[in-house]
């Protein structure tokens, strides 16, 4: 199973390496956006798909990440790489404080509280003119000269996003990742085998926020400017839509969702202003006719093929 996944990942990575060579600048920018939003959506799914809770305020951490990198680069002249690390730390720190309260709730209450905290972050950034520029936004975020171009920044984003997604995949397959699935499936049982489920949920919440922060950090130098809308609840809806379209059950679902959503947005807004209507119809269709998302469909078809490999029951003990 592992080999198959690696082969697929390698093929996709190779395609992403080669594709921009035959594309014009506009589509390279779209591809970059797909990558950044894909990273954001996968981080969202750490909470939604793996922990079983709907965060409707995930943009807060994306926004905190974006503003951290933006402010550090513009106001303090820090290099991009360092700023991105700071974005992860900042987003994680904010998530540690806000998540402490959120993980005490589940279901609709979790969703509402994450959204309320998200709006809190939005208003802080929106009102804090002296520091964040308020609703004027933050301008003049330029990537270093070496990355100052659609193609070079695309390859940089590809590198960072691949690393981020890879780390999240490793986590999802680790004992910690399975513990999150266990909490999702049955929190009570997980407590009664001796785990402090709240602690685990908080750690997962912080990890997810860190990767959202990384995605946000990538956005500023790409877009050259930031606006507080990046933390608004519309923005929190984007990874939700992507994950619903792509499918929350598989690790790659949100990535597929990002491809479909971002590509369609770029395509549709080219000839009509009715993008929200379009995505509304698509979401409705997916929810009604494709409940597992695109990935759910793929899995259903591949289920007809040879059975999924399971770890062989090996009495000889652990693999090295």
């Amino acid at each position: 199973m592992s080999k198959k996944i690696l082969a697929w990942a390698g093929a996709v990575f190779a395609a992403l390496l080669l594709l921009p060579m035959v594309l014009g600048e506009f589509w390279v920018l779209v591809l970059t956006e797909i990558l950044i939003m894909g990273l954001f959506a996968v981080s969202f799914n750490m909470i939604f798909g793996y922990m079983g809770q709907l965060s409707f305020g995930h943009a807060a951490y994306y926004g905190v990440g974006a503003y951290t990198t933006g402010l550090l680069m513009v106001k303090f002249g820090l290099p991009l790489g360092l700023s991105l690390l700071a974005s992860m730390v900042m987003a994680g720190a904010v998530a540690l404080v806000l998540g402490y309260f959120c993980i005490r709730l589940t279901g609709i209450y979790f969703a509402i509280l994450t959204m309320a905290f998200g709006q809190l972050i939005f208003y802080i950034i929106f009102q804090w003119y002296d520091f964040t520029g308020g609703d004027n936004g933050l301008q003049g975020i330029r990537p270093p000269e070496m990355l100052d171009g659609a193609w070079s920044y695309y390859y940089f984003a590809l590198l960072v996003v691949t690393a981020g997604v890879f780390v999240m995949w490793v986590i999802s397959e680790s004992p910690f990742g399975y513990t999150m699935r266990a909490i999702r499936d049955n929190t009570q049982r997980t407590r009664f085998v001796g785990l402090n489920t709240k602690k685990y949920m908080l750690i997962n919440f912080v990890l997810a926020a860190m990767f959202a922060g990384l995605a946000g950090g990538l956005w500023g130098p790409f877009n050259r400017s930031l606006s507080p809308d990046l933390c608004n609840w519309h923005q929190s809806g984007v990874p939700v839509f992507m994950t619903i379209i792509g499918g929350p059950a598989g690790f790659v679902g949100p990535l597929i969702g990002s491809v479909i959503y971002t590509f369609l947005m770029a395509f549709v807004t080219g000839f009509t202003e009715y993008w929200p209507l379009t995505i509304g119809i698509i979401i409705t269709m997916v929810v009604l006719f494709l409940p597992g998302g695109v990935w759910g469909l793929v899995e259903r078809y591949s289920a007809a093929l040879p059975a999924r490999e399971e770890p062989p029951v090996d009495p000889e003990g652990e693999a090295p």
């Binding site: 397959e173 910690f176 399975y178 407590r191 009664f192 090996d314 009495p315």
Partner: protein, 250 residues
């Protein structure tokens, strides 16, 4: 109470609204017992289990386990300290395979759940395979746990409770929903765990043949209070017990 007891409960009380679900229950168990609690529906058996495992907090009274006062401990801390429980309604991870269910509980026992970077697939293989074998779930290891039969789910629940290597195992109707044959197999397993591995076991059960076939000590709860406690034969002969069961053949 002294250190001889693995579990010692003193004057436990719990009311839900006006209903006194548990009233002044004192009960203790020695290491190595295999005991049963019976009582009509609503006698307070499940509440009693909920109180000692930290699911509910008692209004009054004290719970000592392995010498420690665990009355105010959270359920996960009590479980980690060695008291494990299987629920009446099977309580498993329906979206994971049976193998993954058992492996998850074993990884908790091995304190490996904070590991972010190793592949779970490669861990605890031997222990998982063994426990699946012991509980007779080996052939189901690839099945989604949620799709198994009721009897198999109950067995999986038992496996999860066992995975953390408890000193005291509480089983709430371990054979509910099982066929006669499954019931027999499961209770043989329970007896074996008690005999060979020294696990102290307390179970509730409706099936009297199971109770009298396996329990070495029997306690009767009625309307939240403990009304009889002793060797099964003595309890069977007890007049009040007879009366509570309304002349049912106990």
């Amino acid at each position: 109470m002294n250190g001889d007891y693995i579990l010692a409960v003193e004057g436990l009380c719990k009311a839900f609204g006006g209903l006194q679900a548990t009233s002044e229950v004192s009960y203790s168990m020695r290491q190595g017992e295999l005991s049963a609690i019976i009582g009509p529906n609503g006698a307070g058996k499940s509440t009693f289990f909920n109180l000692i495992t930290g699911f509910h907090r008692p209004d009054k009274g004290k719970v000592l386990f392995k010498g420690a006062d665990i009355t105010s401990w959270s359920s996960y801390r009590i479980a980690r300290f060695g008291m494990s429980r299987a629920f009446q309604v099977s309580n498993i991870y329906p979206m994971l395979t049976t193998y993954q269910n058992v492996r998850q509980a074993i990884l908790v026992q091995q304190r490996r759940t904070m590991d972010l970077f190793r592949r779970a697939e490669h861990l605890a293989r031997k222990e998982t395979a063994e426990l699946l074998e012991v509980t007779g779930l080996g052939e189901h290891h690839q099945e989604m746990a949620g799709t198994m039969s009721q009897g198999d789910k109950k067995r999986l629940e038992l496996a999860l409770a066992l995975a953390i290597k408890p000193d005291l195992l509480l089983l709430d109707e371990p054979t509910a929903g099982m066929s006669v044959e499954e019931t027999h197999e499961t209770m043989e397993l329970v007896a074996r765990l008690n005999r060979d591995m020294g696990v102290t076991i307390l179970f509730t059960e409706h099936d009297m043949s199971v109770v009298f076939g396996y329990a070495r000590r029997l306690t009767v709860l009625h309307q939240g209070a403990l009304i009889a406690d002793g060797a099964p034969q003595d309890v069977r002969a007890d007049e009040e017990v007879q009366r509570v069961y309304l002349g049912e053949e106990v």
